[in-house]
């Protein structure tokens, strides 16, 4: 087990062009499950590939276990990586796929069988050892890729969107399996995804990236409840946080905090909302509408309710947001600032 650290890590692909990764500083904790979250093109995979040693940084340092590894090849970094495509060797059986890292790192041949069987048992693929990758389902392939990664007991696990090739149903169970797997082996893990649900569900901490810049590093709760800026506020949550510009401020509130006035107690800001669309999603309702009058007049907002049966399309209702749930951002820097009293009337 080891800690991964980057210092001012930067990658520029085209000279003079924009950096794919810009001055990233981060430090994992021992045994942590850290998620890199960002939209496509945010630099999260490039960051991971630099840590793996598959991409050379333009500047900055990467440290694994306290040692600068910039000039070390992937094999010398004691990392294991699971690729988005799994990258199983198609001509080798599952057994030989899992044994390949042992063979490559010159582990004694007598130990191979025992270690391969241990890794295969851990992932429940003991019965598949003689098969070829093309004879496996997507979920089985993913487990083989994980077994191949775990077999040599690496210091760090790097996972590059390992669930994105699975169908929705399988993805939920694979996610749970990965979580249990991580709890069992306890190896420091870095996980790249563009899926905020995966990030929230799995991460001990989440690193939110956009355009190669770190926007926030924090626990899922911190990132969700106290977003560092408007990008994080809108990237996480579905529907995203409602944002409204007020003079030099941007005020934000989550859809689940926007409720009919009657159900809001304590200090709250309220306004009238004309309901324009109602979606029933089973466990919840998504209501969207336009604010009528006041300083937010004409602004389109979303509300997430456990029940919207009392609301009718085109009707106008009193809605409110508890004062403590309002988030404030500076309009020019888009960074979060201290809460202050505002009137939306």
């Amino acid at each position: 087990m080891a800690v991964v650290e980057t210092r001012e890590l930067t990658k520029v692909f085209k000279e003079g062009g924009l950096g794919a990764v810009n001055s990233v500083n981060l430090e994992t904790r021992e045994g942590e499950f850290l998620v890199f979250l960002g939209p496509s093109g945010s630099g999260k995979t490039t960051l991971l590939r630099m840590i793996a040693g598959l991409e050379a940084p333009t500047s900055g340092d990467i440290l694994i276990g306290g040692r600068v590894v910039n000039d070390l090849s992937p094999r010398e970094r004691r990392i294991a990586m699971v690729f988005q495509s799994y990258a199983l060797y198609p001509h080798l059986s599952v057994y030989k796929n899992i044994a390949f890292p042992l063979q490559a790192q010159k582990v004694k041949k007598e130990l191979h069988k025992e270690k391969v069987e241990w890794a295969a048992a851990l992932l429940g693929i003991g019965a598949l050892l003689e098969r070829k990758p093309r004879e496996l389902s997507g979920g089985e392939r993913q487990r083989v890729a994980l077994a191949r990664a775990i077999v040599r007991e690496p210091a760090v696990f790097l996972l590059d969107e390992p669930l994105s090739n699975l169908d929705a149903k399988l993805r939920a169970s694979a996610r749970e399996e990965l979580e249990r797997f991580h709890r069992r082996v306890g190896t420091t893990t870095i996980y790249v995804t563009h899926d905020q649900v995966e990030a929230m569900a799995m991460g001990d901490r989440v690193l939110v990236l956009n355009k190669g810049v770190v926007h926030q590093l924090g626990t899922p709760a911190e990132v969700y409840d106290n977003p560092a800026d408007t990008f994080v506020a809108t990237f996480l949550g579905s529907p995203p946080m409602n944002l409204a510009e007020l003079a030099e401020l941007i005020v934000g509130f989550r859809p689940e905090h926007l409720r009919p006035s009657s159900s809001v107690t304590g200090d709250a800001v309220s306004f009238r909302l004309k309901v324009e669309n109602i979606e029933y999603l089973g466990a919840e309702w998504i209501v969207s509408g336009t604010v009528v009058g006041g300083r937010l007049g004409g602004k389109k907002v979303f509300s997430r309710l456990t029940s919207a049966q009392d609301l009718a399309l085109e009707g106008t209702y009193d809605f409110a947001v508890p004062q403590r749930e309002l988030k404030f951002f500076d309009r020019s820097t888009e960074k979060r600032i201290e809460p202050r009293a505002v009137s939306l009337q």
Partner: protein, 282 residues
Amino acid sequence: MLAPAVLYILLLVAGPFLLAIFYAFSDARIGNTQLHFVGLENFRSILQSPSFRIAVRNSFIFTIGSQIVVIIASSILAIALERPFRGRGMLRFLMLLPWVAPIALGAIGWKWILDSIYSVISWVLVALHLYKPFGAPMWLGEPHLAIASVLLVHSWRLIPFSTVILLAGRTAIPKDIPEAAAVDGAGFWRTEFLILLPMMMPIISVAVLFGIIFTFTDMTVVYILTAGGPFDSTQVLPSLAFTLGIQASDLAAGAAISLTLVPLLVIIAYLMLRVAHRAEVT
């Protein structure tokens, strides 16, 4: 719609082939209007001829030898030319030249390069004081050197073709695979030999099978470079068939020699179809 294809096959493939079978069992000679059926006499006679045995041996030496050289050289070239670098396009174009130029043109060029008097190779060796003036080996005049020379020219001609095929094969392998191997701890050799080479096997077999056919059936290189000499030491089956059948007027013997190529070519054609089929399926 089928007529042109059928006509083509009947006139240009089946016709000559059946004629060759017919001649091989006869005593046909150029300039002789009489024809008698002689059974297996022609085959008995060529099997006893030392030239024929040398030609069989040489056909195999040239074919197998050049394929070994070609696969090793083109694998190295494919690795070198895979990653982008300045001037790669130009280099790829230059490399392809031996393949696009007519065989005869290339062979004539090599004939000069290996000439007994004007050879640039000999000139360089003499200039380096490795040999006395006029003391350099006769590249095409000594049996062993002549065999090596023919093998070299065959390889030179096929390397570009094979390189292009192997390059295509390498680019078809997803980047993730060699990267996974690197992360798994495999170095260059292990990745090449245990991962990429096995994955390339289907495409390599295509290159080899084509190479075998091109070399085994070719008579131009031998004909221009050595005319089968010295003392028939570089004769191959096609060139021997030509020499005996056309130049020495013994049509029947020439036809019989040509027919001995058929079994091997049938086997190769079968293997090629199988590889092609497997490539279609997967």
